[in-house]
Assembly symmetry: D3
Homo-oligomer: 245 residues x 6
Amino acid sequence: MSRIDGRTPEQLRPVTIERGWSKHAEGSVLISFGDTKVLCTASFTEGVPRWRKGSGEGWVTAEYSMLPRATNTRGDRESVKGRIGGRTHEISRLIGRSLRSVVDYKALGENTVVLDCDVLQADGGTRTAAITGAYVALADAITWARAKKLLKPGRQPLTGTVAAVSVGIVAGTPLLDLCYEEDVRAETDMNVVCTGDGRFVEVQGTAEAVPFARAELDTLLDLAVLGCTELATLQQTALQTAATD
Amino acid sequence: MSRIDGRTPEQLRPVTIERGWSKHAEGSVLISFGDTKVLCTASFTEGVPRWRKGSGEGWVTAEYSMLPRATNTRGDRESVKGRIGGRTHEISRLIGRSLRSVVDYKALGENTVVLDCDVLQADGGTRTAAITGAYVALADAITWARAKKLLKPGRQPLTGTVAAVSVGIVAGTPLLDLCYEEDVRAETDMNVVCTGDGRFVEVQGTAEAVPFARAELDTLLDLAVLGCTELATLQQTALQTAATD
Amino acid sequence: MSRIDGRTPEQLRPVTIERGWSKHAEGSVLISFGDTKVLCTASFTEGVPRWRKGSGEGWVTAEYSMLPRATNTRGDRESVKGRIGGRTHEISRLIGRSLRSVVDYKALGENTVVLDCDVLQADGGTRTAAITGAYVALADAITWARAKKLLKPGRQPLTGTVAAVSVGIVAGTPLLDLCYEEDVRAETDMNVVCTGDGRFVEVQGTAEAVPFARAELDTLLDLAVLGCTELATLQQTALQTAATD
Amino acid sequence: MSRIDGRTPEQLRPVTIERGWSKHAEGSVLISFGDTKVLCTASFTEGVPRWRKGSGEGWVTAEYSMLPRATNTRGDRESVKGRIGGRTHEISRLIGRSLRSVVDYKALGENTVVLDCDVLQADGGTRTAAITGAYVALADAITWARAKKLLKPGRQPLTGTVAAVSVGIVAGTPLLDLCYEEDVRAETDMNVVCTGDGRFVEVQGTAEAVPFARAELDTLLDLAVLGCTELATLQQTALQTAATD
Amino acid sequence: MSRIDGRTPEQLRPVTIERGWSKHAEGSVLISFGDTKVLCTASFTEGVPRWRKGSGEGWVTAEYSMLPRATNTRGDRESVKGRIGGRTHEISRLIGRSLRSVVDYKALGENTVVLDCDVLQADGGTRTAAITGAYVALADAITWARAKKLLKPGRQPLTGTVAAVSVGIVAGTPLLDLCYEEDVRAETDMNVVCTGDGRFVEVQGTAEAVPFARAELDTLLDLAVLGCTELATLQQTALQTAATD
Amino acid sequence: MSRIDGRTPEQLRPVTIERGWSKHAEGSVLISFGDTKVLCTASFTEGVPRWRKGSGEGWVTAEYSMLPRATNTRGDRESVKGRIGGRTHEISRLIGRSLRSVVDYKALGENTVVLDCDVLQADGGTRTAAITGAYVALADAITWARAKKLLKPGRQPLTGTVAAVSVGIVAGTPLLDLCYEEDVRAETDMNVVCTGDGRFVEVQGTAEAVPFARAELDTLLDLAVLGCTELATLQQTALQTAATD
């Protein structure tokens, strides 16, 4: 069976990672997973939130948002509604936890990095693209900080790399990196965040229609590790290339 | 190795399920997982939200909240702060999805059930106790509606049962049903929601300190299925007993 | 004339006061006035709000809330609505003022007690049950603080005791401690807060249907003092009994 | 003992009632109790809130607010803070209940009157001045509606008149109509709302410092009835005079 | 062509400026432009917002609001809605910028003046009346501060005077100081803020129906300068008169 | 005198207009004025807001927002703060009014177009770039609607074209299209919106430091008309080119 867009079940969509997209941010990446496009910026500032002052440790946090017309039907702005929805909260927290899993706070020192992930166009997998892009933006912000002598010499705040991908079962077939049309038809949908060496940071699986069996779960996990490993390679390649700006 | 409270690694805390706790709600349960106590009420009303009118289908949703002094340190009320936090949003959505996984909307007809899960005392595992208790409250509300002739004859809106438990790795050992002290020390923390026949509805695993390997994940999933199966039995026992009110 | 539940006009509903209900709070009471059940917790913390720092005086405040399904018809959560309603504000302020009337701020020292009164089940008189229960929780928190050496030796922050009860005129008859059904039918409704020695802390009378004459007001005040005195005795009895936890 | 401003204990401050203050509102009154000035407007509109449609009955509601510099120290605007405070809520509700006590909803028909009471300058007794002025604005709006043939012929929506005054004990002496300086020093503070024939609509007494005895309460009530009766006369006089606009 | 109210095209409405309206504020003015009445208070406080501390410079800011029934149809209160509308924001900012244009922050020293402009009755031109009145209130607050020795001797924080007026094209004719009925019919509407010597502080012109040509713009600017000059004279006259309070 | 970026005083920055940027929106443009980049999407939907139903007329509105790290220093998200700031409100309203000035509501029929202008990178002139880009997006949405037969045949909802530019006086020299560094140093700052035939839709001039004279205003208006005319040509060129998507 071939997929809507002609991919094989275990194939990622075309991924592009454009570094240095913004002239202002310390790290910035426009990442695309097919038609999903997310602008990820990393803002590095000296100092930490009040509850962490004097600890000698840094902080990393994330905020996710969608432009109102990133989707097929226009959504109301959360700023206009005056409140952040549950989905936005949930994804912002997931991105923050995922990135923090590869950060050594002591090595970062009392500095803060805020990762803003704004979805410019959505076609499924926005949170996984956001995590994958945010890692590259974070790495660039760390490099910037080192060049500015804002980090203690000889310390590496990044303990590894992190990437994420969605997997799901559509019409009985396990698929990697679902586009929107596949996502809405999926019986089971899972987002998996892995480190570059194939270990798990987050596993979030949801039965959309019918509960799933252990064997299905195992197949999906295999597929996800495969996808994350491939994304880790793409991240490394991007980081070894000169930024566009 | 024995646990803080003397349990074996694969042992649940004492679970109590007190039905008919509230005189007003169509279904109500005070559930405890050890010192964690959650009041779950099911409010059954005729009619559905506007976006579902005329569909012939019902709706089930959930709201989770903690009393300010349910925890060791008093937390601010979200009503006073004027906004719901990300954690509350996330858990409310999880409970709603979990319960909907065992509901046949057509059989429910155009009726709505709201599940309120209010944590009166917290000692770890509040969301898993909430899901487990909410199922029993939902079952009671369905029974009430059938007695009131609010359901079509011969239809069963519940397609199965659902329960949830936390699992985690503490000091290298996989443990079932973490209490608060174990939870804060866990390297990996996972909440698993299963149907009564051992299939998965939700799997949410998070590496708190270090990423986890596939083998660890497999062990945790085994443990969780074990716990959920035991909880399913306790739910059935409770439902076969006359309610206390 | 006998009342809906068989009581005489000047009879309280059965009152239970269960101390030590919560394992976390410094004082905690589950109080019931018939089917009205309120969980009152007292959270004692060192320090005072900024506007009181350096004064040598403490602070006592209260927050009242109802669980959504405490009532016959489910009410929306104020946290979800994003704002606190006028009734909640009004009652929180009443509870705070009532408790402060028996507190010597100097003797309390720069410490704060927050009284949370959460209505688990409502059947009329929730605010009066809350005040009556909160006093017991406050007394327990003071005892706890003394044992922890957080109070200056030889000082007693409580200058008396406080309790509250509702009275009203239903079908021309003055009644003590209205249940919900009586409350909705009352021509006049009054909440009275008294100290243990029968003096007044708060008197709040409202003509629901027709204005009331001075003679009616006088009868209601007599009835309220009677009820408060009886509640003061029940509070003392409870405080002299070993807590359940 | 003479008072701060030379009055006798049972003397009101100078009261002025200026009708027709606004060119837009159906009824409008600028009332002053000494230096307290409140602009009361009555907005009459055909139709009722949704929950009352088809009942054949009208609705009357009130909103109270203070200009930021009505007081000695500037207060933050509640619109800027994004939430209404407890005090504002409490007073708005009190004004609404007080005015509704003299309204026959059937005679009003399905029409709504909103009473806006905005304090332009505060010197104690703002809520009692608001109630007293709002009654006159309401009476004018009813007259306007009758002239416009918006009321059923031969029906009188007003069943009586209503006025309010504060009383309190300052330095052991019961005083009528407290100004701000007296109010802050009062041991006991009471707001009383009466109908023109001297019956009670609302009684709200608070012990600010020490609980008060029954005898004190009785004296205060006597004083309040005296004041309200005098205010009722002033209202009638104002209503019999041609409006200034 | 004569105007609705009989004025010539280049004629202002009757303007009254009543100083010392409030007993509490350091400066206060009730200004009327015809039936438009705005209460402007200036609150002088020592100290500046945190971001300006230690700069040796002062701050001036403004807040504009309308009473709900200032207009022909009652508007909802922004405090009740929980958010400030765009129009209110826009006008508050305009008033603040306009007044700041004649303030020397160094001469003001680390002091803050808040200008509250509350529209009691609206009939077009509320923002221009607010600016014109706020200037007089500000001048009075500065005089008050000098008398209290809160300003450095020999320094004058006001570098000039400021006034504002609306102009517009109605049925092809350029008019000065539009009343509400003219405003709603205007093809082009402009608000102009000028210093006393006829220079521009703000020019805000909007084509309501059809875009306007340069020649029309030039005529409107001429008219506006004329009006602002006349208002500057009225401000000076008012300031040379003894205040009413 | 040459400018920071080498331009002459009357020279625009390089302008690019990339149509068809988004796969979902009916019209979408990524516009850049130098380093200022704004994503403008036009969402066309059948139907109008409730207050306009049955009028036979359409509606056009706009929302402006900045990504948090569009600027040199990260700004807080308005969705997280829970309220929209005055500047955002002001600009959204300006964009909406500007676009509506070239719309014939009758010809549009009962359809709504929402223009979302999200600033991806800011370097001065974000509101003028937003208006200029939004016009092109609107034109594309109208073309889309005509192709879908959603417009009445033979009707043209656009009555002209609209573009905007900033002008200002920096160090005494009038300049066209200020970049951020020029903007912060400007003594006077003006935003001008013109139709393609050189008439004015909006003129908003502000004296940042010192009030400006009529002669300066005249020079700035000349410069602005020049810039808008040039932008109108660039808009037409872009619309005659095939979209990139």
